[in-house]
Amino acid sequence: MTRIFIPRDAAARAVGADRVAAAVEAEAKRLGQPVEIVRTGSRGLFWLEPMVEVETPVGRIAFGPMTSKDVPALFTSSFGTGHPLHLGRPEEIPFLKRQTRITFARCGIVDPLSLDDYRAHGGCRGYERAKVLGSAKTVEEVTKSGLRGRGGAGFPTGIKWKTVADTAADRKYIVCNADEGDSGTYADRMIMEGDPFALIEGMAIAGFAVGATKGYVYIRSEYPDAIRAMERAVLLHPFEGFDVEIRVGAGAYVCGEETSLLESLEGKRGQVRAKPPLPAHKGLFGRPTVINNLISLATVPAILADGAQHYADLGMGRSRGTMPIQIAGNVKHGGLFEAAFGLTLGEIVEDIGGGTATGRPVRAVQVGGPLGAYFPRALFDTPFDYEAFTAKDGLIGHGGVVVFDDTVDMAHQARFALEFCAIESCGKCTPCRIGSTRGVETMDKVIRGERTEANLALIEDLCQTLKFGSLCALGGFTPYPVMSALKHFPEDFNRPRLSVAAE
């Protein structure tokens, strides 16, 4: 019986993985050759998806990007080098070989809903070690690892946990923020679809560490595949005494902000709360709550299993461990690249990403989602590190890297950032609610060439107000894309346009 691995990851399905799986099944039946098809997550080499892997005596052999037309040749070539899409061992593909996979160690390899697979590939070891260490030592271990919030804020995870552990209450909660709304990011989605037990184990460890028995995973509604996978996984998980419930968002970007997410979980409008009180003191339903990004939680089992030091040894400065960098947009080799902090932006975009998909020169790279800055090539020496990006007026956010070629109109991108803020503003604070709309109007004037200098001065002033006067990162960080576009690409804001770029 030949085992054939085909991703069920949403991005792989979006480019035809289901059709390939059906073709493999049909061809095997036609030939009377018994095969077992295992639907996995994705390895994250998306330009090669659908990537099919076949188990052979020398390990798995990959083929891709496959279409159903390429399936018969898989069989006639006996799954060998004769196939035109033969890629060899996936671990030897440079994009994968150069990575340090800790959080994504199992993703794309295991059957996501098989506990046996999970255990066979190192799952559950973290939870078991936590139980041996005891709750206080578990918190200490997470602190020592240097793990920081992977949602973007970069707050030390261990300190958050300790605050909740030290707060007395009748009930506490673990909340996983899986409202991954940043364009250019898909790491959370990949874990939910490819290794859901890692997340659940991380939450169970958090629960044990701080004294909580109930966890919620808040998943955005744009991820139906991830929701389905998680709903099945929570019924199967082996972490006794810890209950996980899946909740689905309803299309509000701002619910990725932690206090807004808590409001939404409580059944209210997703409006931001003023802090203090911190969620660690008064969070969900007024109880002490650990609210962490999905990647932070899914990394915890590996930290516990292999020890804090092992994780802390990786990285640079105060950015310890690895970051799943998500390379996206107009890029040749788009995909998930987990590596220790410290790669430069240029290495990520040019070397690993292979430059643009269109073959034109890279002009701008937006790092950290719609609230992240646009970096020009001149800043390609910036290392991927929380502090290094802050020093260059940018942010790494959730690790999304969106590449644009030289056809991009940066005035249009700046306008979009303001428009997005206007669409998604929760309306609680004035700078964000009103400022974003006024910003779009003013940017339209700039694009039309109306009193350009005066209107750009107004934009700068407005960005100051947004930055310092907003309650949360939506209004507070919208100035990053706007001001970086202005600063690094001024020529795009002061040129006559034949047609109005704005819709």
Partner: protein, 159 residues
């Protein structure tokens, strides 16, 4: 296909969540799945069952982009308008599709067949531009594949 409004059935759906903390969103999702939208009648019933004011429920329904007050078309095509898809010419492809059906964002064809909506990221950003048709992901859209999708829908409509 969603059913016509039925208060008995709706009450049953709401009560299925009784005892659940913060059940509003799961209830609204289930009601919309059953009846295609969250109508004023549904708002009134949810308010009554959860012991809230209609204003409070309306406030929640109107806050979230997902909840509709009118049912969508039989097919819902979501086109991603976020940055990664912009970088791969997504905006121009989206315009073409809208033009073809004579729609603006969020509108439904007069025969109720198709609704086209904007979405901001489907998490398929390494295979941009992307879309979702009736919950199924589609990526690496280009003129040919976008045309094929449009043609398939148009064929069904009989245009």
């Amino acid at each position: 296909m969603s059913a016509v409004w039925n208060e008995v059935e709706a009450t049953r759906i709401i009560r299925r969540h009784s005892g659940r903390e913060g059940a509003m969103l799961p209830i609204l999702h289930d009601l919309q799945a059953a009846f295609g939208c969250v109508s004023p009648a549904a708002v009134r019933l949810v308010a009554h069952e959860l012991n809230l004011t209609r204003a409070e429920v309306h406030g929640v329904v109107s806050f979230y982009h997902d909840f509709r007050e009118q049912p969508a078309g039989r097919h819902v095509l979501k086109l991603c308008r976020a940055e990664a898809c912009q970088s791969m010419n997504g905006e121009a492809l989206a315009r073409e599709i809208l033009k073809r059906f004579d729609l603006e964002w969020g509108e439904t064809t007069p025969d109720g067949h198709l609704t086209v909506e904007a979405t901001y990221c489907l998490g398929l950003c390494a295979c941009a531009p992307s879309a979702m048709l009736d919950g199924q992901p589609i990526a690496r859209l280009d003129e040919a594949s976008a045309d094929e999708i449009a043609r398939e829908i148009a064929r069904e409509i009989g245009r």
